[in-house]
Amino acid sequence: MSELLQFLFSGLTVGAVYALVALGFTIIYNASDVVNFAQGEFVMLGGMVTWFAHAAGLPLPLAALVAILATAALGVAINKLAIEPARGAPVVSLIIITIGASVFLQGAAQLVFDKQIHSFPAFSGDTPLRIGGATIQPQSLWVIGGALVVFAGLWLFFTRTLLGRAVLATSNNRLAAQLVGINTNFVMTLSFALSAGIGALAGVLATPITLTAYSVGIGFALKGFAGAMLGGMGNPKGALAGGFLIGLIEALTAGYLSSTYKEAAAFVVILLVLFFMPQGLFGRKSTERV
């Protein structure tokens, strides 16, 4: 029993990281149908900037805030400098631009910071919590909590606020959205700022567990993207469920079958789900209203 509980804790820890990254994908996707492959770099920057600022003497909360704000500003810059000038280009081109931005950010990070692996102290110490014979790091609870709070925030934003609905409208039909008075440029800028900020938050919360280096972004982006696809791209509920599900499948496979097959097991499940439910578990059906 304690064995199962330990596997579940392991899955929840990893799953919460995936979920947080997956949530970051939803906003930009909702605003523009673009899958932002630089999302992983935002996560990396969250961790690296916090480490850098903390090492330079800032207290940890302030360093984290600096990292989130700086990354959000960088997200805006990417939108202004790379995405906006390509306005009107097909979605595929925009996705390729985000891949370019990702390569650029990774290269810049290894020059600005360094090539070593870093970490900073966990927020509530390193003494593991014992529950029913299994253990979990307090930092895992921070990550799980962070994922839930971001999820709740996004869900409220998209369903309860005018601005959130404006984001959805922009994605649905940019021209029509402009015609009803939505400032679509502002919506795009906002979505990049929010996505980058959420990515950086994920990096801040996860770094004491996962550690950080200039090159960790791609790994985060792939797992987060897989989580978002599994749950249904663009739906915060899907991102949350997809991320946790992949983490749990990996941990249970590693625990009960073999750690060699854990990645494979997760991807088999993703393939099966997408085969029978191409929109993902919670994805919206793409219906065109005429």
């Binding site: 330990q6 820890t13 990281v17 290269g107 290894q110 960790v216």
Partner: protein, 381 residues
């Protein structure tokens, strides 16, 4: 990231008359992975080579001849390494090559160097580089097989007969896992649990729980490098496992203790080089002056701690300088012959004695069994 660095003779030195005898120069080529996935190995290697060349030229070079270092960054890409090796030999006309941060890049440089009959000193781990022996290829790092042997020797002394292994699936972890499984039988030790993790994984408690619940496991060995071993060490303490934990030489650095946390790293053992415990070496240890000098110079210049990998580059360069000095000539064939006759050369990794059958020249004594005590490395007697 393409970056080409060329360190040539500092003109100022010549003007000052310090190197007035330098009519000819010895050209040494290097291709290391200063960027890319192996950057944290290649970066200190590149820095070490540049620093040592500057130091040596300031002292007047070898036999009165200046050293010119042509340094390329292959980014860990074996194809680029091959191109750079060709360029080093054909365009830059170097007399010897040091480099090849990873096994992959070393293998491609080796092919080019052997063809052109230019001596090549590799900085990568795999035993395949020097076995079977190739006439012009040498290497400085000990092999992962030797690391396994050193660890199993230590386990044997503590009467450990059944162990669990948790290995990274990256090249380093997978290769060492295979080598350890190959030699484990010779020590009467049985691997009762054999788990793996992806180098990007954030939590290994599932695998460790499985190992803990395997009957009769007396110790755990973690071949791996990068952040994985730090996370394994933390999870190990999180689960409260009391068995001895062995790490590999891949994480032999102060950075490992820092990343894993001093409390979690306490009691971890691994086979490391003298470089890590420079201050603790006996006064009459032949490696003491070498490691102390390198540590002081590197840390003074770059303000970052020395590591095992920069040490490999140090030794590669030291071997070459020693060979050129003894040969009294910078002809590639003469350097090769002299390299093969290297005897008792103290480097940071160990004491090198080469022979026509052995182009590595290190034995198990090059490794020192280290243990984390009170948050820093100590030597296990």
């Amino acid at each position: 990231m393409k970056k080409t660095l060329t360190t040539t003779v500092p003109a100022a030195l010549i003007a000052l008359g310090l190197a007035s005898a330098a009519s000819a120069e010895i050209r040494i080529g290097a291709s290391v992975s200063a960027t890319g996935p192996a950057a944290f190995l290649g970066d200190p290697e590149a820095k070490t080579l540049q620093m040592l060349v500057e130091e040596l030229n300031a002292k007047g070079g070898i036999n009165g001849e200046e050293i010119a270092l042509v340094l390329y960054d292959d980014g860990g890409d074996a194809n680029k390494a091959r191109t750079f090796a060709t360029r080093l030999i054909e365009d830059d006309e170097v007399q010897a090559i040091v480099g090849g941060t990873t096994t992959g890049t070393s293998m491609s440089i080796l092919a080019v160097a052997e063809d052109a009959e230019i001596p090549f000193i590799s900085l990568a781990g795999a035993i395949d580089i020097i076995q079977p022996v190739k006439p012009f290829t040498f290497k400085t790092p000990h092999t992962d097989r030797m690391a396994c042997q050193k660890i199993f020797e230590d386990m044997q002394k503590s009467g450990i007969q059944k162990i669990g292994m948790i290995s990274g699936t990256d090249g380093f972890g997978a290769s060492m896992q295979a080598q350890c499984k190959d030699v484990v039988g010779e020590y009467g030790i049985e691997i009762a649990a054999d788990e793996t993790y992806d180098p990007k994984d954030a939590d290994m408690t599932a695998q460790l729980t499985k190992i803990r619940n395997t009957d009769g496991v007396q110790a755990v060995l973690n071949p791996g490098f990068g952040q994985g071993p730090s996370i394994v060490t933390r999870n190990y303490r999180q689960l409260g496992i009391e068995l001895p934990l062995y790490q590999s030489h891949g994480v032999a650095s102060d950075g490992f203790i820092e990343l894993a946390g001093k409390e979690a790293a306490e009691g971890v053992r691994l086979p490391g080089t003298a470089l890590l415990v420079a201050d603790l070496l006996a006064e009459d240890d032949p490696q003491k002056p070498v490691v102390t000098a390198y540590k002081a110079a590197f840390e003074g210049k770059f303000n970052e701690p020395v590591g095992t990998f920069g040490g490999y580059a140090h030794d590669g360069f030291a071997l070459l300088v020693d060979a050129v000095t003894r040969a009294g000539s910078a002809e590639p064939a003469a350097i090769r012959d002299a390299l093969e006759q290297t005897s008792g050369l103290a480097g940071t990794t160990g004491i090198y004695t080469m022979s026509p059958e052995d182009h590595l020249g290190l034995d198990l004594s090059a490794f020192r069994m280290l243990e984390v005590k009170d948050g820093s490395w100590s030597i296990v007697e």
